[in-house]
């Protein structure tokens, strides 16, 4: 009996040590898989939009993601809460990954819309999903307007206003 309780104590003591060690190692393992600090702080992308041609898609790269920048023609109406005014022109600025499974939709200049080849999703020129499996419009990247340039990755007042309108705080 005495032996058993001593053995029981040893067992419990070991269990406690092992549990602490186990949780600590799990945490360390989780951290090892985290993106590296250099990845997290990966820089900002600056694009001069004044020289872009209307109705021709420009694709910038920000954090490894394609960012669509589309200058509107005179007859394209801006979409409230999605179109960005830089200088005298309106633009669509959005992450060019289909919100279904992340393929890159192609721009069809003649129909002024986007078509995703993977699963047939379609978006308007402002990136609003209009057909197929995409559950929501194309995501908007954080941006700041600085004269004629867009700084991707920085949250400017226009971006914050758009987010507030969309209900994202």
């Amino acid at each position: 009996m005495e032996n058993e309780s001593r053995r029981g104590f040893i067992g419990k003591a070991f269990g406690a040590v092992a549990a602490v060690g186990g949780v600590a190692s799990l945490l360390a393992m989780k951290k090892t898989w985290d993106p590296l600090p250099s990845v997290m702080s990966a820089g900002f992308t600056t694009v001069d939009v004044s020289a872009l041609e209307a109705n021709k898609l420009e694709i910038a790269v920000w954090r490894g993601k394609p960012v669509f920048i589309l200058k509107y023609t005179e007859d394209m109406k801006p979409t409230d809460g999605r179109s960005v005014k830089v200088g005298d022109h309106y633009y669509s600025v959005m992450i060019g990954l289909c919100t279904h499974l992340g393929c890159i939709p192609a721009y069809r200049a003649d129909q002024k819309d986007f078509k995703c080849a993977c699963h047939g999703g379609e978006f308007t020129s402002a990136g609003i999903n209009k057909f197929g499996p995409p559950p929501r419009p194309l995501d908007l990247p954080p941006f700041k307007i600085d004269g004629n340039t867009l700084v991707l990755g920085e949250e400017g007042p226009e971006y914050k206003a758009m987010m507030a309108k969309a209900g994202v705080v």
């Binding site: 989780k30 898989w33 992340g102 993977c118 699963h119």
Partner: protein, 416 residues
């Protein structure tokens, strides 16, 4: 210390120390297999051989492969394919082997379903087998990323993106799995580790469990007959080999297995040497480009059915988006086979064709999986999308209906 007599031979010396005689008896010469089986019972040994072939060919590839996004593509397509002596052979064996192993897994799995080899004590054989299926799928997926071609990249992208559909933590989880905001060097290197170390270790462990789970419930037979293995074994050992319902694993069962294996290996190496191209997608000979989605993305043939279930739901139903529905259906499709022993409510262990209702279910399932596989490869536009939706729905309905169908079957045979 135990008493050791001086050994009379080298064999005896080892036997004293390792108990070889006893080990061989337990594992081989007195491990009993039913006599009433056919060539479909050879698939387990075929899979063991295939796994060995994959490990050996993988070891040779591992010596030249570089898990770095700037070097991976060339290390495979230039170094291994053109410079290394017979490097092409090991690559083709590995690629064709990965495809063929799934063919045999599916035959093995549907043999089990057809003959009811998943119930009445054989549940753990089934579950460990399905665990192996999941592990092999993960192994196939992680390996597919390594050549770093366009299909490698976009398959990795689409599949890791799936985790983004998990509520609340989804977005962060995807970044955590990739080690970056997009599929990148960190992703490639960690999946390389998974492919060559962690998952193969897990597979080895699961194989041991799978084999061990067979020991007590024993291998099923063509008629689903239950009998006393000890009694039949005694009969065999007493010399009544003809009257006994069992044969020893070695040399009797395995010698027949080797015969089937011989045919299989001829088929396998025929593919390796003359038709390897089916396992080498041409799109994957373009280097990965994160800014250029291939016009049409599809997985290897063995994932097509679950891929089709994933994308079968392309519109919103009852306020739930197509993407979420597809994800739920995909999760369902991958998990539901695990609990098959409990979905089948009929006590009957018989080949499907002798079961009054189950036979329809079985052949419907096979037909549906073929439709899903065929349409999984086609672009999801127009009528294709609707066939995909209908066959995905059929898949879900078949599994939801299974308990009711088999319950009715149990009633019918009980009333007889």
């Amino acid at each position: 210390m135990a008493e050791f007599k001086p050994a009379d031979s080298l064999y005896e010396w080892f036997d004293q120390r390792l108990g070889i005689d006893k080990f061989v008896k337990v594992m081989m010469t007195e491990y009993w297999i039913p006599k009433n089986i056919n060539f479909l019972w050879a698939m387990g040994v075929l899979l063991t051989v295939m796994f060995t072939i994959l490990i050996v060919s993988g070891i040779f590839l591992l010596m030249y492969y570089k898990p770095d996004i700037n070097m991976a593509f060339d290390s495979v397509n230039y170094t291994i394919m053109q410079e290394v002596g017979y490097g092409w052979l090991f690559r083709h064996i590995h690629a064709v082997g990965a495809s063929v192993v799934f063919l045999i897994i599916y035959i093995h799995m549907f043999t089990g379903i057809y003959y009811g080899s998943y119930k009445k004590g054989r549940e753990l054989i089934w579950i460990s087998g399905m665990l192996l299926f999941v592990l092999f799928s993960a192994e196939g997926f992680s390996g597919y990323m390594l050549p770093w071609g366009q299909m490698s990249y976009w398959a990795a992208y689409v599949i890791t993106e799936i985790f983004g559909g998990i509520p609340v933590i989804g977005g962060d989880l995807v970044v955590w799995i990739r080690g970056n905001f997009y599929v990148s060097d960190s992703t490639l290197t960690r999946f390389f580790m998974l492919h060559v170390l962690l998952i193969p270790l897990a597979i080895l462990g699961a194989i041991v469990v799978h084999f061990y789970a067979l020991r007590f419930p024993h291998v099923n037979n063509e008629e689903g007959e239950f009998f006393d293995f000890d009694k039949e074994a005694d009969k065999y050992l007493a010399g009544d080999k003809k009257g006994s319902k069992v044969v020893p694993f070695w040399p009797v069962f395995l010698s027949k297995d080797f015969f089937v294996l011989g045919f299989f290996l001829l088929f396998f190496f025929y593919l390796v040497f003359f038709h390897y191209d089916f396992a080498m997608d041409p799109v994957n000979f373009d280097k990965a480009d994160g800014l250029k989605t291939p016009a049409h993305i599809y997985p290897e043939w063995y994932f097509l059915w679950s891929y089709e279930v994933l994308r079968g739901f392309f519109f919103e139903i009852a306020g739930i988006s197509g993407k979420s529905l597809g994800l739920m259906a995909f999760a369902f499709a991958n998990a539901i086979f695990m609990i098959l022993p409990w979905l089948d409510r009929s006590p009957m262990v018989k080949p499907a064709n002798q079961r009054p209702y189950f036979k329809y279910w079985f052949w419907f399932l096979i037909a549906d999986l073929i439709v899903l596989t065929v349409y999984g490869k086609l672009p999801p536009t127009g009528a294709n999308a609707w066939v995909g939706f209908a066959s995905s729905m059929t898949f879900l309905v078949l599994f939801i209906a299974l308990p009711f169908i088999t319950k009715a079957e149990a009633k019918k045979i009980g009333g007889k």
